[in-house]
């Protein structure tokens, strides 16, 4: 053991030597550490400020290793067993890095390769302990602690200002030049004030020898050669220590309105340090000076408006702005709308403050703040659309939120109190400033956040196709095609010249009527379709959605069962009242199917007479549970059928192709629909027999089927005598008794057996698939797969489009989710389906997945090799 002690003592000696070395380094945090003061025990926890720019090889939690340049801001010896916070240039954001995940590090300012990062950072941070990694630390540290406090004082002065803040603030107040007082320094006349001028003002805390923002007029200023580009300015400037040329440039900037947008940002920071100190330290201890706050806040705001382009300045500036508003302004910052910008790893302070304030007051949280809350939360991951179409996303979120919560969400206050740990830009503070508020801290609330996140998620996924379009066609955000992709709420409020033109055309064409039949070619011209002889299904779909939002409809509509149309076909335009129809009920589908059949039949004896038309319409509207919007659409659909009756010859040919069982199914379905209102009148019987004929079935069978509809227990258990003919009130037709627990249907009292309708509808799906083949026109049939030629080579048991996708992935290590979706779309594949299909093939062949991860998607090159062999 004694050997070990010796080792420790030697190590301690080395360390002391290291410490003495660091004094010569220009690192502000460690410079001049021998200032007088009493030694004290170093506190080992909590973050310490550190300035260094490192080049790192870093392996993140997902196991990915990347090379990054990181501007280190603080070091925490205990968190995650040693970690530091820094601005990562790769991610463009502040991140926490764990030392144990750093593979290698180089200090970019010296080029020195750092073998023991922990020790290095400890040294820079002024922490004397925990040098070297592993278990030796603590003992070494104990040793050091005693040694160091005997003759050296690692952090003298640190508490001077903080222990007697009032005095320090009073001292600072004597140096403070308020707004409007004119001063002259080094020959520069400075008008706006808001500066510390004088000598010997200690910093708020930390190790800086003097307040960095303090302008000492006695220091030399090189007027003849101001360093306007900032040459010679250290990363962490202080007026007292920068070269005379820099002082000249700084004073020049101060004297010329402090608004030169091209000024070197270091000078802006230097000035900003003073504002920061005034707002966050002096004013808190000088109650009679608090009137200054609003002018100072405005000044910060002004600087931000000029220098906000600089990321770093924006970050510090807006953080100060929001905190200062919360501290000093009446409304606590609530009347300033929050930004949804992401800042570092936590919810923006203004949001925590404002939402906390609202909760404490029992007031509803309005949409804007709710959005700022969810968007600013570090665990919220918003997808591309929310960034690319930030404006639309915001609008949609706010709209949805308002629909859901009205004035806002009211939450019960939680117990956790709000403590803001603000990281000032100025070294004067020597670390984060903690400010406590008697408000609930929303970081501890999760339930409403989940709800908000869901809302945001929905909003962003609904904007996805719009976002994709904008991504591919930048600059066409206002085109009709783009607007058509917007959710209806947004589209309705977006008036572009093109929508106006569209509306005008519709009004002209309709000229006061509720509906009108026209040819598709007009729409093709209007919508600028890809081909001029036909309109694709998705084109028609987006047109229909666009029209929805401005109050018109088309029929056939691909969303409700229409398909692609060629230029010479007919189409019905009509007005719609309600704009909320995004899906129709199965009832509606059933109704259109019967219309088709009936139209085909009616057309077989020439044309559809008006009487037949009215009858069909009336029957369907009465007998089926349709909403008003559906009724309007159904009428338009009927008009379309009348205008372009299904061609009988082709229909017959197709009918012959389907098997007898399906034909029977269709026939039964028609009977069931006809009987849905409880009555089958002779007119209907006539149509039904024709349908049977059309289907190549024996028309006599129709009577049998009508009969079995009434008696078949599957449809309706006959638990009482069947009323063949009700007295008087029903001169023609057959009444079918109602459900056993209801009164039998009588002529006037109109009753529907909903259960039976349900059952009928269940058949719709079966029938519609059969009918889809029957009624789709040849001309309009979609090409089976547009992207992939059928003779393309196939790989690894995949079909042609999937093989092509596989080949497209070749030679890539990863692909962004967006690019993958785009590729899939080009090949007419569904992205997630393709993901599964490729992986399945990969598992078959190589036993390993090919694609992993969400965004970006990683591609296993080895597996890819096996697959494409």
């Amino acid at each position: 053991m004694s050997e070990f002690a010796i080792v420790i003592i030697i190590a301690g000696a080395v360390l002391l030597w290291l410490l003495s070395q660091t004094r010569e380094r220009p690192q502000p945090r460690t410079a001049k550490r021998e200032r007088s003061g009493t030694g004290h025990v170093v506190d080992r926890t909590g973050p310490r400020n550190v300035r260094a720019i490192l080049s790192l090889t870093y392996t993140d939690a997902e196991g990915q290793t990347t090379l990054r340049t990181v501007r280190v801001e603080s070091f925490d010896a205990t968190r995650y067993g040693g970690s530091f916070v820094g601005h990562c240039e790769l991610r463009g954001d502040s991140r926490t890095f764990r030392i144990d995940r750093v593979q290698s590090a180089v200090d970019t300012s010296t080029g020195e390769e750092i073998h023991d990062l922990r020790a290095y950072l400890s040294r820079l941070s002024g922490l004397t302990q925990r040098i070297g990694s592993g278990p030796i630390d603590d003992d070494l540290n104990d040793l050091l602690r005693t040694t160091v406090s005997l003759d050296r004082h690692p952090r003298p002065d640190r508490h001077r200002a903080q222990e007697r803040p009032e005095e320090s603030a009073k001292l600072a107040d004597r140096c403070w030049t308020p707004a409007g007082r004119i001063i002259t320094v080094g020959g520069y006349r400075i008008e706006q004030g808001m500066l510390y001028i004088g000598k010997d003002l200690p910093p708020v805390g930390g190790w800086h020898p003097a307040e960095p923002a303090l302008i000492d007029p006695s220091l030399p200023v090189a007027r003849h050669s101001p360093a306007r580009e900032g040459g010679g300015m250290p990363y962490w400037p202080s007026y007292g220590s920068i070269p005379a040329e820099c002082r000249a440039a700084y004073l020049e900037w101060l004297s010329t309105g402090r608004s030169d947008p091209h000024a070197y940002i270091g000078y802006v920071f230097l000035y900003f340090y003073g504002l920061e100190r005034r707002l966050l330290f002096d004013l808190r201890h000088l109650p009679d000076r608090q009137g200054e706050a609003s002018a100072l806040i405005d000044e910060v705001d002004r600087l931000l408006s000029i220098y906000g382009e600089n990321r770093s300045f924006r970050q510090y500036g807006s953080a100060l702005l929001h905190l200062a508003r919360a501290l000093w302004s009446e409304a606590g910052g609530l009347n300033h709308p929050p930004s949804t910008e992401r800042r570092g790893g936590e919810i923006p302070i203004e949001v925590r403050l404002a939402v906390g304030r609202l909760i404490a007051a029992g007031k509803p949280i309005p949409a804007e703040w709710a959005l700022a809350w969810v968007a600013g939360h570090p665990e919220t991951r918003l997808r591309t659309p929310s960034q690319r179409c930030a404006k639309e996303f915001r609008e949609l979120f706010l709209h949805r939120f308002n629909v859901m919560f009205g004035e806002g969400m009211v939450l019960k206050p939680n117990k956790r109190r709000l403590r803001i740990s603000h990281k000032p830009a100025s070294a004067s503070f020597g670390g984060p400033v903690d400010i406590h508020f008697d408000l609930p801290d929303i970081t501890g609330i999760s339930a409403p956040l989940r709800l908000l996140r869901e809302l945001a998620e929905t909003a962003s996924s609904e904007l996805e196709s719009y976002s994709r379009f904008i991504g591919r066609n930048p600059g066409e955000a206002d085109s009709l095609q783009a607007l058509a992709l917007l959710p209806p709420e947004l589209a309705a409020s977006r008036e572009s010249p093109e929508t106006l033109r569209l509306r005008e055309w519709f009004e002209q064409t309709l000229s006061g009527r509720d509906w009108v039949v026209t040819t598709v070619s007009h729409l093709i011209a209007l919508w600028q379709c890809e081909r001029d002889d036909r309109i694709r299904k998705d084109e028609l779909g987006s047109l229909a959605r666009m029209l929805d939002s401005i109050g018109y409809g088309i029929e056939p509509d691909p969303r409700f069962g229409g398909s692609a149309l060629s230029a010479d076909q007919k189409i019905v335009l009509f007005r719609v009242e309600s704009r909320s129809l995004s899906a129709v009920s199965p009832t509606y589908h059933a109704a259109t199917l019967l219309l088709h059949l009936a139209a085909a039949v009616a057309a077989s004896d020439g044309e559809i007479s008006e009487e037949e038309e009215r009858h069909l319409e009336g029957h369907l509207e009465r007998s089926m549970d349709l909403t008003q919007t559906e009724v309007i659409r159904l009428r338009a659909h009927l008009q379309w059928l009348v205008a372009s009756p299904p061609k009988l010859t082709r229909l017959k040919r197709r009918v012959e192709e389907i098997d007898e069982r399906s034909r029977h199914q269709i026939a039964h379905f028609a009977v069931a629909i006809a009987g849905a209102d409880g009555v089958i009148d002779p007119e209907e019987v006539k149509i039904l027999t024709k349908i049977y004929q059309l289907l190549g079935l024996d028309p006599d069978q129709a009577y049998g089927d009508i009969h079995s509809l009434r008696t078949d227990s599957r449809w309706h258990p006959a638990d009482q005598p069947v009323t063949v003919r009700p007295p008087e009130s029903h001169p023609i037709g057959y009444a079918i008794p109602g459900h056993h627990d209801r009164t039998p249907a009588s002529g006037s009292g109109f009753q529907l057996d909903m259960e039976r309708i349900e059952r009928t509808l269940a058949e719709t799906a079966v029938v519609s698939s059969v009918l889809a083949e029957v009624f789709v026109d040849d001309a309009a049939l979609e090409p089976v797969s547009s992207g992939a030629p059928q003779d393309a080579t196939t790989t690894a048991d995949l079909d042609a489009p999937h093989s092509q996708l596989l080949l497209a992935l070749k030679a890539r290590a990863e692909i962004s989710r967006e690019d993958f979706e785009k590729l899939a779309e080009e090949l007419n594949l569904l992205p997630d389906g393709a993901f599964e299909a490729l992986n399945e093939a990969a598992f078959e062949r190589a036993g390993l997945p090919l694609l992993e991860g969400e965004d970006p998607i990683e591609i296993d090159l080895e597996t890819l090799g096996v697959l494409t062999e």
Partner: protein, 438 residues
């Protein structure tokens, strides 16, 4: 059993990270599985039966720390490998099998969020399943030369016959329509409906034209529908893992408890009678949950008679055909093998080889038993965590020997058995990491 062929770096890191954080790994369990061949084989048979269109149900009963969760995850991984779709959730007061205040729907939501396939083993695979269904239907349509619509409807017809299946089919068809007409809102709504996120029928009707939603009363029916659906999409079956069943036992209201057990009975009956096709359940719970005759499953007569231990299986003789699988606690020998396996995982892929010798393992266990007594192998969470930390230190400090460090592992006896909630996967939330002292 799955082969332990290649250990990929991604899997290696995932295993070590989970162990370090004191949670059960979600991938690569096979690499550190120790013993339990019979139990695994029993579940494997179950899974194969499900894949063949059968059904299965198991209650995995074990003490705190006996590795229930690990076992469930392993079984889940096997199920994925066998091309089943899996879904897992922990029961808690807000997530129950039966409820009237939305807790059952909430369980369903959690299950759907965690739905996984072999290629998406970390959950969130619901959309993939839907798209896989559509993709298959489409390629079939291409082969047969008919419209995709027709094939989709034809396939969905099988669902429409089941309870609540008509709307289910309608929603899936809606997804396809949305895709075809470029209507992302419709697609998103379809997925939301299937995930049980619609809370009112009116909303669902407006968005999708359907009359029903997933609610507390039809959660099980929807699981059955989902089982049918994943088969239609080309997967072999649907495997549901529910852990922490002790939360049902802890329900204070006897009525609520009874209702939940009734739901269990319904699942059990369906499964044993084979009326749930391609659907399997595995439940994880503690012995008191099963055996307590006042509040446990045994308090419910109908369940008790079905679950009672085979009278002939006592002591060493086990019966793995019954629905209950009793997991024995880990023995010191098991732990020794486990630590060895962890060491090998650590040393895989060109990372420093064999950091600790077998003697080192023994010494480490010796140390653990001195510090915490016998509990160290019964509740191995901390032991394993410290062991991984030890390996990490050894790897990074090549000059240090294990002999120097083993005595320093700081172990505390684990407290709060039972309901220790599984930690969320917070990145590196392991402050104890640096707790070595000399």
């Amino acid at each position: 059993m799955t082969t332990t062929a290649a250990l990929r770096p991604r899997v290696r890191n995932a295993i070590l990270q989970s162990l370090r954080a004191g949670v059960t790994p979600r991938v690569g369990q096979a690499h550190i599985q120790v013993g339990r061949a019979n139990e695994v084989r029993a579940l494997l048979t179950d899974i194969e039966r499900i894949a063949d269109g059968g059904s299965a149900i198991r209650f995995v009963i074990g003490e705190y720390g006996s590795g229930k969760t690990f076992f469930l995850n392993l079984v889940r991984a096997i199920a994925l490998e066998k091309k089943l779709v899996t879904a897992h959730a922990d029961l808690n007061p807000d997530r129950r099998l039966h409820a009237s205040g939305g807790q059952a729907r909430s369980l369903y939501q959690e299950l759907m969020r965690n739905a996984s396939t072999r290629s998406k083993p970390d959950g969130g695979a619901l959309q993939s399943i839907i798209e896989r269904f559509v993709t298959r239907a489409r390629s079939e349509a291409t082969d047969r030369g008919v419209a995709a619509d027709a094939v989709i409807h034809e396939r969905l017809a099988a669902l429409a016959e089941m309870l609540g299946g008509y709307d289910f089919a309608e929603v899936v068809a809606g997804y396809w329509r949305g895709h075809e007409s470029g209507d992302d809102a419709l697609k998103a709504n379809a997925v939301r409906w299937l995930r049980g996120e619609f809370s009112t029928k009116t909303d669902a009707r407006n968005a999708l034209g359907v009359r029903t939603i997933v609610d507390d009363s039809n959660v099980y029916d929807h699981l059955k529908l989902m089982a049918r659906f994943v088969q239609l999409a080309g997967y072999s079956g649907f495997f549901v893992c529910l852990d922490e069943l002790v939360n049902l036992y802890k329900l204070p209201s006897a009525r609520a408890r009874g209702a939940n057990y009734e739901q269990l009975l319904r699942i059990l009956n369906d499964t044993l009678q084979g009326s749930a096709v391609g659907l399997g359940f595995v439940f994880g719970g503690t012995p008191e949950f099963l055996l307590d005759t006042r509040k446990g499953l045994y308090s419910y007569e109908a369940l008790q008679s079905r679950l009672a231990q085979n009278r002939f299986a006592t002591g060493e003789i086990v019966d793995l055909k019954g629905p209950v699988i009793n997991l024995p606690n880990l023995s010191p020998e098991d732990l020794f093998v486990l630590l060895g396996k962890i060491r090998d995982v650590y040393a895989a892929e060109g990372h420093a080889t064999r950091l600790v010798s077998d003697d080192g393992l023994r010494a480490f266990m010796q140390h653990c038993s001195q510090r915490v007594g016998d509990a160290y192998f019964r509740t191995p969470r901390n032991t394993i965590k410290e062991f991984v930390n030890l390996l990490a230190v050894l790897e990074q400090n090549s000059e240090v020997d294990w002999e120097q460090l083993i005595g320093t592992a700081d172990l505390a006896e684990e407290s709060n058995p039972d309901l220790a909630p599984l930690e969320e996967d917070v990145e590196g939330d392991d402050d104890e990491l640096a707790s070595f002292q000399l």
